[in-house]
Assembly symmetry: C2
Homo-oligomer: 355 residues x 2
């Protein structure tokens, strides 16, 4: 078996792959790929997926869970359109590519974006601190985990303003307090399921209040909440696999248990990075991500040799994002501690050989 450290679409539990493959061949007598989304058996899948999200994240009353398409990229637009109020002004924190994308799309739909903090000055290697929040904003937007750089918000200032968060790459990896947010959105393809579905968790009282003169039906969360994600044909298979994965998550202790495992995996690898003389981490220690560990060789000339070593150990997906270089070990929920141990062993061995 390969050790998949890819940044996403990424590893899911092996038994989820098995159950998904079985349903492609037979889902109550048809392939899951040919079943109508209006069939009662599939309506039950969608309902269960929504209920499992609520259970896994302890979603309080007064919130709707929605499955859509288009990824976080369309989510940037949907968030801005649905959260736009009278100010038509919102605060954004710029922690890199995805946060910048959210800012760009908000501006495109007419949001006056106030920069509440940016780590662009140091190539996004830290999370901006001491964020001051003006009062005349419709909402505040941040990106909880920055996949490309390997930084993560470990807390966020309390505010009475509506909070909107792109949690694409760390949702379901740890406990969160949904009540802190008016809107959470996340591309599925990290800890939730395969590519092709996007999750929205929205406070019902925030629905139907957009002041945008432009709101196509597909981008209107109120319509989707009312139709329970069946306003139009949903991404049938992606939601089905997400449901299988959520079942697996809850059977194995839920996000509480995963959080402990994710901390253990991160500790194992960061300890190696910090103690191994050949490597160093890329980002501020206090802002390190538990999901995406970004590191490099102090001596880049050794890269080709190190690449041979981890590839020989059946590790895949380790190269850093093209904009950062070096290495990135993405350690989503389904990656076992044993895979991290394999990487750590390769690093130790490599250090000995190059002592």
């Amino acid at each position: 078996m390969k050790h998949n450290f890819g940044a996403g679409p990424c590893i899911l539990p092996q038994n989820v792959f098995k159950e998904a493959a079985a349903a492609v061949l037979d889902f109550n007598g048809l392939s899951i790929l040919e079943v109508s989304h209006r069939h009662k058996d599939y309506v039950a899948v969608m309902s269960e997926a929504i209920e499992l999200v609520k259970k896994a994240l302890n979603v309080p009353e007064g919130y709707s869970v929605i499955f859509l398409q288009g990824g976080a990229t369309l989510g940037f637009t949907i968030a801005a359109l649905n959260m736009m109020r009278d100010h038509k002004r919102a605060g954004y924190i710029n922690t890199g590519t995805w946060a910048s994308g959210a800012i760009k799309e908000a501006k495109k739909v007419g949001i006056d974006v106030v920069n509440l903090g940016s780590s662009e000055d140091k190539q996004f290697t830290y999370i901006p601190k001491n964020i001051e929040i003006p009062a005349d904003l419709d909402y505040i937007h941040f990106t909880s985990n920055n996949t490309i750089y390997g930084t993560q918000f470990h807390d966020f200032p309390k505010t009475d303003l509506p909070l909107v968060c792109d949690m694409s790459s760390d949702i379901f990896s740890k406990e969160i307090n949904v009540a802190d947010y008016d809107l959470i959105y996340a591309g599925a393809q990290k800890n939730l399921g395969p590519a092709g579905a996007t999750l929205y968790i929205v406070k019902d009282s925030a629905l139907g209040k957009s002041t945008s003169p432009f709101l196509p039906s597909y981008l209107d969360l109120k319509l989707h909440a009312e139709k329970e994600s069946m306003y139009n044909t949903p991404p049938v298979f992606s939601v089905y696999v997400a449901m299988l994965n959520l079942r697996d998550l809850l059977k194995n202790g839920g996000v509480k248990a995963k959080e402990q495992e994710n901390i253990a995996k991160a500790n194992l690898l960061y300890r190696e990075i910090d103690s191994n003389p050949l490597f160093e981490g890329n980002v501020a220690v206090e802002d390190r991500s538990l999901m995406n560990v970004s590191f490099k060789l102090k001596n880049e000339a050794l890269e080709a040799e190190f690449d041979k070593a981890w590839k020989a150990a059946d590790i895949v997906g380790l190269p850093g994002h093209r904009s950062v270089g070096g290495y990135r070990a993405s350690m989503y929920n389904a990656l076992p501690l044993s895979s991290v141990q394999v990487l750590v062993d390769v690093m130790k061995d490599f250090a000995q050989k190059n002592a």
Copy 2:
């Protein structure tokens, strides 16, 4: 095996299901569900899917093929935004629910919609004829096949204006002349693949000419064409299965062969409807769809008994759309003639028993 007459998501070839299931378990050593869309093996899948679309539909030079998400519902908005020019006015033909949806979404983004014809007066049971086309339009939009009612355009008036068509439910079922269109779009979940992908075929010279003050990146076909459908994470698995299905289509004679099969299937069933004393078709004979055959019992009191009969023959998906009632036999590419024969036999047998 069940005979799947469902309207979509719908039947695909059995060997496509088998190959898709195999890839969920093993696609070059990983599950297709965990492979990065940036991996060369998946980039090759996307390229092949695009090339096979071009080959299957004989797409001429100067057109781009794009895979997106969001279904035809988001397509309504994307079409209007990308085709909007100085008039901000377009002609639409209203042939039912989906065409009406396209009209609604065009209006929402600021298109002044000119009604070029409507069959609403007779519950959309025919295709409007003698369409007159004013000159001061940015484009003309129609829905080639109307899944719910079972009507289909068998030709369209020649025009010099840009033609835009929602071909969700008959694309790949017959030969078309792509050069007639500036933009074709289609939800995948009929003859192309599983739900979760949407196909766009767009004339390159039509890209980048929108006059809309509002054009989010995800809705901008120019960006997607430039990035070869990889502007953001595509619906990896849906595109993969579409590629498998296109391979199968081309191996089996392409759309030319499918068109002959589809005509044979439609002839078989329509002949039975017209000759069987218990049944009648719902729509104008000259506008009958080859994809969705809409019919009913002359005596509705027999419905429960007829339902028992076709269910006993392992037929599924036959009930008409809730807005029409009666029956609808959807006969997409992958439905074999033998399945249509099973239905015809049930109808004949039912007529004998109720003579």
